[in-house]
């Protein structure tokens, strides 16, 4: 009896401090790029700040914010409309439609940008179509805000779709019925009842889309649209002006943080509670007229967001195959991509564990602070994270430089927030009493971890692993700077081939990215529908 008492005491004093220490290490690593930005921008003189402020900032702010607004509106229109039809009507091919709305997530923004650039040329599929339809007119230009908006909406609307679909399938019938009884038209019901109730989901979806817009590097640099992220990259790599780059990063971080705080604020104020008993809405069978309308709209979205790009990839991959360009070297890129993604996913999931566990146990200001700091990857653009990690590793532990560790570390910093979020829910099921019971039965910390903690949070860890794996597979800017010498991954090759206009090689690499993400997407969708 006395023995078990001692054990309980021990857990209280020792275990959290070990976790706390590990969590501190991870958070420090995650904060490295932010410290780098603070340090470098601190070296800017007042005059340099003023120059930045008057020369660059007005244009960058305008470009970035207007793009964010355009993309948010576009994603909302596509995402909400698709989610609405799919949850509220029963029509033939509904399951296929769901997949078609999610599949664009497998295509990175820079691949969208590259494919649309090619397709809108005179000899391109869309270019030819346009010239047949409107002979004598100029093909629409993609190198402007509308082109970038198109690309980012197609690449991002699925997030809004997923979140809104979730909310709609949980929403309840009685409110709508009440409105209908009082004489509201279906349109009025949508505007005055559904839309306000969907606001939290839409806000979350748009927040995700906007954060992606702020940190996007691939599409804006291929389409040469000067946002903060592109401008920061150019300051670094064509002027070698790291201080100005850091100054701009600081402004961008402030912008992203403001946005996140605002989003959280509005989401907290908008909460709707339904009574638990009321019925879930059943999807109504669609009329023939509706079926045509639904498939016209969803088909249109699917054609531009997935079918055309995938057809393009297949067609050029076929040509590459026939020219014997799919050789051992190509499979080498595939294996490099898979290796680094698996490595980064594993590292990130392991690193997220102490942070999530520590917060679940402590719930203190310190642990909350750790959580906030681990979000650096969300708000800093990829090139800056890479730069910060590179400078830090070279200054502090040069011996690991040049290997995969630096790249994996940068991926860890970029995708840590994703991983922590995915694991947090699972970790919350872990009550202290379970652990205390294990300890009192004589389990040491290792057994406790292996036989008690891990089995409980396994599901959350798997999801986190999968999410980080996908994002690393598609990651471009940090990989460009930090990959080991001569170590080319699929995104790097797409980047190089696209700049050399070697369509035959960019296509199969893009196709492999889609193929590589598919099983993972399938896994996630199954998880979702299982709930």
């Amino acid at each position: 009896m006395a023995h078990s008492f001692i054990s309980v005491e021990k857990i209280k004093t020792r275990a959290p401090s070990l976790r706390g220490f590990l969590a501190l290490l991870v958070v420090l690593a995650a904060a490295v790029p932010l410290l780098f930005v603070l340090f470098s921008s601190g070296q800017l003189s007042l005059q340099q700040w003023l120059n930045l402020w008057s020369n660059r900032l007005p244009e960058l702010l305008w470009n970035t914010l207007s793009l964010a607004v355009f993309v948010a509106i576009g994603s909302m229109i596509l995402g909400v409309s698709a989610a609405w039809w799919i949850t509220r009507r029963e029509f033939p091919g509904r399951r296929i439609a769901i997949w078609l709305m999610v599949l664009p997530l497998t295509i990175p923004t820079y691949v969208f940008a590259h494919i649309y650039t090619i397709m809108l040329e005179e000899e391109g599929w869309l270019g030819q179509l346009w010239l047949t339809a409107f002979p004598g007119t100029a093909i629409p230009e993609i190198f402007n805000i509308f082109g970038v908006t198109l690309v980012l909406v197609l690449a991002g609307f699925s997030y809004v779709f997923l979140l809104v679909r979730d909310a709609l399938s949980r929403s309840q019938q009685d409110v709508e019925e009440a409105a209908r009884i009082h004489g509201a038209t279906p349109w009025q019901v949508f505007w005055r009842v559904n839309l306000p109730m969907l606001r939290p989901a839409i806000a979350a979806g748009i927040a995700l889309v906007v954060l992606h817009v702020l940190s996007d590097f691939g599409a804006v640099s291929m389409l040469r649209y000067q946002t903060f992220t592109l401008s920061i990259y150019l300051q670094m790599s064509s002027r070698f002006d790291f201080q100005a780059a850091a100054g701009l990063s600081l402004v961008l971080v402030t912008l992203s943080l403001t946005f996140m705080v605002l989003e959280r604020f509005f989401r907290n104020r908008q909460r709707y509670y339904g009574s638990g008993k009321s019925k879930k809405i059943a999807a109504r069978k669609a009329t023939y007229f509706e079926i045509i309308g639904i498939w016209f709209w969803l088909g249109l979205i699917a054609i531009f967001a997935f079918i055309l790009p995938i057809a393009w990839m297949l067609s050029w991959s076929w040509q590459a195959w026939q020219q014997d360009l799919i050789d051992a070297e190509f499979w080498g890129y595939v294996s490099n991509s898979l290796t680094v993604s698996a490595l980064a996913a594993t590292l990130t999931v392991i690193a997220a564990l102490p942070v999530a566990l520590y917060h679940a146990r402590e719930r203190s200001a310190v642990s909350q602070g750790f959580l906030y700091l681990s979000n650096v990857g969300f708000v800093l653009p990829g090139p800056v994270i890479a730069l910060g990690i590179l400078s830090f590793v070279i200054a502090v532990m040069p011996s690991i430089y040049g290997g995969m560790a630096v790249l994996a570390l940068a991926m860890m910093v970029r995708f840590l927030p994703l991983s922590i979020q995915a694991q947090e829910a699972a970790v919350q099921q872990l009550t202290p009493s379970i652990e205390q019971a294990a300890r009192s039965l004589g389990a040491n910390w290792y057994e406790n971890l292996r036989r008690v903690i891990l089995p409980i949070i396994k599901g959350g860890m798997a999801t986190a692993w999968v999410l980080v794996f996908i994002d690393t597979l598609k990651e471009l800017p940090a990989t460009l700077l930090l990959r080991p010498t001569g170590f080319d991954t699929l995104p790097v090759r797409i980047w190089i081939e696209a700049s050399e206009e070697m369509l035959e090689l960019a296509a199969p690499a893009s196709l492999m990215l889609v193929v590589g993400t598919l099983p993972v997407l399938w896994f996630l969708m199954r998880e979702k529908s299982g709930k």
Binding site: R239, F240, T339, G402, G403, L480, G486, E500
Partner: protein
């Protein structure tokens, strides 16, 4: 047991160094399809393996600077003299011995041989032969003529060759005149700039535009594919008082912290040899930097026209000033 093995694999991957010690590491900003034949010929001749790390010239230089003495690179190849001179300014290179460097003319290499030019390209005009109304264009400064509104094709101002060209004009005629020139071109492009030189040539060949400012080899690349395309090359600024054609070179440098200096110098010796020079320049129809090596037959002979007397080093020294000028005009 199984988890122990996984653990070991995981950590050995993490600490593994991908590059093998015995191979020569080249950071190359040149297109893969142009540099790969050269590398293959070198390996065949010397038996030295080469690991190619490709990227854009500027971001590779950036990487080299950040890496400092931890860099694995032995050689740096850039498509633009501006980058090479910038690297020299940042003290990233190791001078090549004079014995090797001397075969390249002095104005095509760094003053201390810390980089060596390998192949040169000329900024020329591509003109549509069917449009007689643009026959008056004899100088790059004619490109601002109001008659060319909507007929001029240039690249966007992020292009390295374009920036280098502007530097040469700025050095030759001064900032004020260059600024006016840029502003005039901004009007004449009529809202559309091109993201690739090859697309400029294509647009001129199809008659969408009548005049384009490009590197000479893009014209011959197009003509090789479409021999009947109605385009011709115009060598600008050849009059007595004119400034001459802007040149730029692609070149190579040995990195300061190379751990493989001997092999690196052998590579430089190879690409400056007669054979190496022919191979390096002619895959892209550029001018071999070494005198006495012929460029592709269809290309105007080097020495048969006037070249602007701006040393290649200036392209690096004045690059930021050029970028400032371009930005102040707000070129797209």
């Amino acid at each position: 047991m199984k988890s122990g093995v996984t653990f070991l694999v995981f950590f050995s991957l993490l600490i593994s160094q991908y590059a093998q010690a015995e191979s020569l590491v080249v950071y190359s900003g040149r297109k893969d399809k142009f540099i790969k034949p050269v590398v293959a010929a070198f390996t065949k001749e010397t038996g030295i393996k080469v690991l190619l790390h490709s990227g854009s010239s500027t971001s590779l230089l950036n990487k080299l600077k950040l890496e400092g003495k931890n860099s694995q690179a032995d050689l740096y190849i850039s498509n633009d003299a501006g980058n090479l001179e910038k690297g020299k300014e940042m003290n990233l290179f190791l001078p090549v011995s004079a014995d090797i460097a001397k075969v390249i003319p002095q104005k095509l290499r760094a003053s201390d041989n810390s980089w060596i030019g390998l192949s040169a390209r000329a900024r020329v005009l591509v003109v549509n032969t069917n449009d007689k109304s643009v026959d008056f264009v004899k100088s790059v400064f004619d490109l601002v003529d109001p008659r060319l509104k909507g007929k001029l094709a240039i690249t966007h101002s992020g292009n390295g060759s374009y920036i280098a060209g502007v530097t040469v004009y700025m050095e030759s005629v001064g900032k004020k005149k260059t600024r006016e020139w840029l502003a005039g071109m901004k009007i004449n492009v009529d809202g559309k700039v091109f993201n690739k030189h090859s697309k400029i040539v294509k647009a001129v060949a199809k008659g969408k535009r009548s005049v384009g400012l490009v590197n000479h080899y893009y014209i011959y690349r197009h003509l090789k594919k479409y021999p009947k395309a109605p385009i011709k090359i115009v060598l600008p600024d050849q009059g007595k008082k004119d400034i001459g054609i802007a040149w730029n070179v692609a070149g190579i440098a040995m990195t300061k912290y190379s751990k493989n200096k001997k092999a690196a110098e052998r590579f430089v010796a190879f690409v400056t040899s007669e054979k190496g020079q022919y191979l390096f320049a002619n895959v892209n129809k550029e001018y071999p930097a070494r005198e006495g090596i012929a460029a592709a037959a269809e290309v105007p002979k080097a020495g048969s026209y006037k070249v602007a007397p701006v040393a290649m080093q200036v392209l690096g020294q004045q690059r930021n000033a050029t970028l400032d000028l371009i930005e102040s005009v707000g070129m797209p």
